[in-house]
């Protein structure tokens, strides 16, 4: 192995008391690869994300980010190391403006969050980066609006900007198109592709919508009852009997 993986997970497990939500998950994602984690409701996708992103430490196993062991680090350290995430339910600052939402990660990244004076709107290191990001997600003209006044799809775009503006090496997206209409979904798919191309970010997404998964992912991991059932490229996953039986065949997609 000459090149370190972007993200490597070894024998990860998490249990609540005796109940094992996820068990013995090992996978490694190459730099710049777009991969997806799929599985029916309750398969443990969100628990898996929470355990590797620092929401809570996993009860078993190890997480490596760019070769560095980040297992059990609190979320703000995980972010400092270069991994950011979105949530299934939009998780942003609703009574702040779009611009302020994107400023916040930059303020923290540039270590200005304990700075008690100065006007951010005149800080070019922050405003310029924020504006570039907002242009890329297509929200530049709404920078001064309160996030709470935006449509749902636009709120998801704000979250994308908030997650990406620090320039993380790995980005976890928890159901980025959940609740979106077909047009917004399509927009999100092309946005993810575009941003991956611009920044070389390694995206790792969970998704319910199989169309989204097969149109985005270069590699797919299937989670079933807390175990990794299969992994491979879209063709391999489509033709995998276990997957068809456990998941695709049942058409869980409501």
């Amino acid at each position: 192995m000459n090149v370190e993986n972007a993200l490597r997970i070894e024998n990860l497990g998490h249990s609540y008391g005796k109940f094992k939500v996820i068990e013995d998950i090992s996978l490694s994602i190459d730099k710049g690869e777009l991969s997806a984690l799929i599985g029916p409701n309750g398969a443990g996708k969100t628990t898996f994300y929470n355990a590797i992103s620092g929401k809570f430490p996993p009860t078993k196993g190890k997480v490596f980010l760019g070769g560095e062991n980040i297992t059990g680090l609190p979320s703000h350290h995980v972010v400092d190391k270069g991994m950011c995430r979105s949530f299934q339910i939009t998780n942003i600052f609703s009574e702040l403006t779009v611009a302020e939402n994107v400023f916040s990660p930059l303020v923290i990244q540039q270590n200005k969050h304990f700075k008690l004076y100065g006007n951010l709107f005149r800080d070019k290191q922050i405003t310029e980066k924020a504006m570039t990001m907002l242009e890329q997600v297509g929200l530049a003209d709404r920078a001064e609006q309160l996030v709470s006044s935006l449509a749902y799809g636009d709120k998801r775009l704000v979250e994308m900007a908030v997650v990406l503006v620090r320039g993380p090496s790995v980005v976890l997206l928890d159901e980025p198109t959940a609740g979106m209409n077909p047009k917004e979904t399509e927009n999100m798919i092309s946005l993810i592709k575009k941003l991956a191309a611009i920044y070389g970010t390694t995206f790792f997404i969970t998704e319910h919508d199989m169309k989204v998964v097969f149109s985005l992912a270069q590699k797919i991991y299937v989670l079933h009852q807390g175990h990794l059932l299969a992994q491979g490229n879209p063709q391999e996953i489509r033709s995998n009997e276990h997957v068809q039986e456990a998941y695709l065949g049942r058409k869980v997609n409501a």
């Binding site: 972010v79 009574e95 403006t97 916040s104 990660p105 923290i108 304990f114 951010l120």
Partner: protein
């Protein structure tokens, strides 16, 4: 390009002019009331740094107010009469105490945070109440010598009400300006972000506990500053300052005035004291009637009296963006 949202300077400028000339036309009694409004207004503004900006409800602010007051009383009894030194020491003492209290309090959230701050406040109250050798116990600690300041050839003292008013006005003005800068600084933005969503702050790299401790300490320091002023105003430090019911006052004032507007708590303090003055002419049970007034305010002025009126008058087009 992103621009800063309106910073209306006309309002604050008008307020400063009004407050500056007020003593010239007011009876002495009302100059005293106005002094008290300014001091408690500063306490409420500091409290609102936590309540309105950071999203933390503290019921222990009285402890820092009292620490400021007692440190001033002790220094004055010890013969130290330099106003700047007294203000500075009071603030620093409150800051350090708030760092310690903050460290333990931010471990928990919401109602638990409120309860821990309340418990700490009551610990300080018991200390002040029972440590009679130092604090004079429930009788309080009287101050006989008050500091004075020579400014532009005029001698300002805490002995004469009008002169005292101008000293208080200056210190509260400086304190309020500093708080304004803090609220509009990068740190201030992160405070608001924590109020909106602390989980997201942590997931963009912010250490929520550390940030909250910093907010708590700053709030405590300015509360201590208000406490020093109140001791000089009152010529007395008493344990009551540290009682939880006293800590509730800045919270009530903030809610009356509006937690979402920077100067809201100051207006809340004004409404609070003016109501008290009006009601007390008719009955001694003024708290009962305060309750009667408070209920419609909470119901009909969702952003506080000042916040709601400001929206109605100045931004009638974009009401209730929610």
């Amino acid at each position: 390009m992103i621009t800063n949202k309106y910073h209306n300077l006309l309002g604050p400028a008008l307020l400063i002019i009004l407050l500056f000339f007020a003593p010239l036309v007011m009876p002495i009694y009302w100059v005293m009331i106005l002094s008290e409004i300014l001091i408690m207004g500063l306490m409420a503004l500091s409290c609102n740094l936590l309540l309105g900006y950071t999203g933390l409800l503290s019921f222990g602010q009285g402890a820092f107010f009292g620490l400021g007051a007692y440190s001033a009383a002790l220094m004055l009894q010890g013969g130290i009469e330099n106003l700047f030194l007294i203000l500075l020491v009071g603030m620093l003492l409150a800051l350090m105490a708030a760092l310690v209290v903050g460290f333990f309090s931010v471990q928990l959230d919401e109602i638990f945070f409120a309860m821990i701050t309340l418990a700490f406040g009551m610990m300080f109250f018991s200390l002040a109440h029972n440590w009679i050798d130092i604090t004079g116990g429930s009788d309080g600690m009287p101050v006989f010598n008050l500091p004075s300041l020579s400014l532009f050839g005029t001698q300002l003292t805490f002995y004469a009400p009008t002169s005292m008013y101008y000293l208080i006005f200056s210190v509260v003005g400086i304190g309020t300006s500093l708080l304004w800068f803090i609220v509009h600084s990068p740190f201030g933005l992160i405070l608001k972000a924590m109020r909106e969503n602390k989980e997201r702050v942590s997931f963009v790299g912010g250490n929520v506990k550390k940030l909250r401790i910093a907010a708590f300490a700053i709030s405590g320091a300015f509360t201590g500053l208000a406490g020093v002023l109140f001791c000089l105003f009152n010529s007395m430090a008493t344990p009551d300052f540290m009682h939880w019911s006293f800590s509730a006052k800045p919270v009530i004032m903030s809610i009356i005035g509006g937690t979402g507007v920077f100067l809201g708590p100051l207006f809340g303090a004004a409404i609070f004291f003016i109501l008290e003055q009006v009601i007390i002419q008719f009955t001694e049970n003024w708290m009962f009637f305060l309750g009667i007034v408070l209920i419609p305010i909470v119901l009909f002025f969702p952003k506080g009296v000042f916040g709601t009126l400001r929206d109605k008058i100045f931004h009638p087009t974009k009401q209730e963006t929610k």
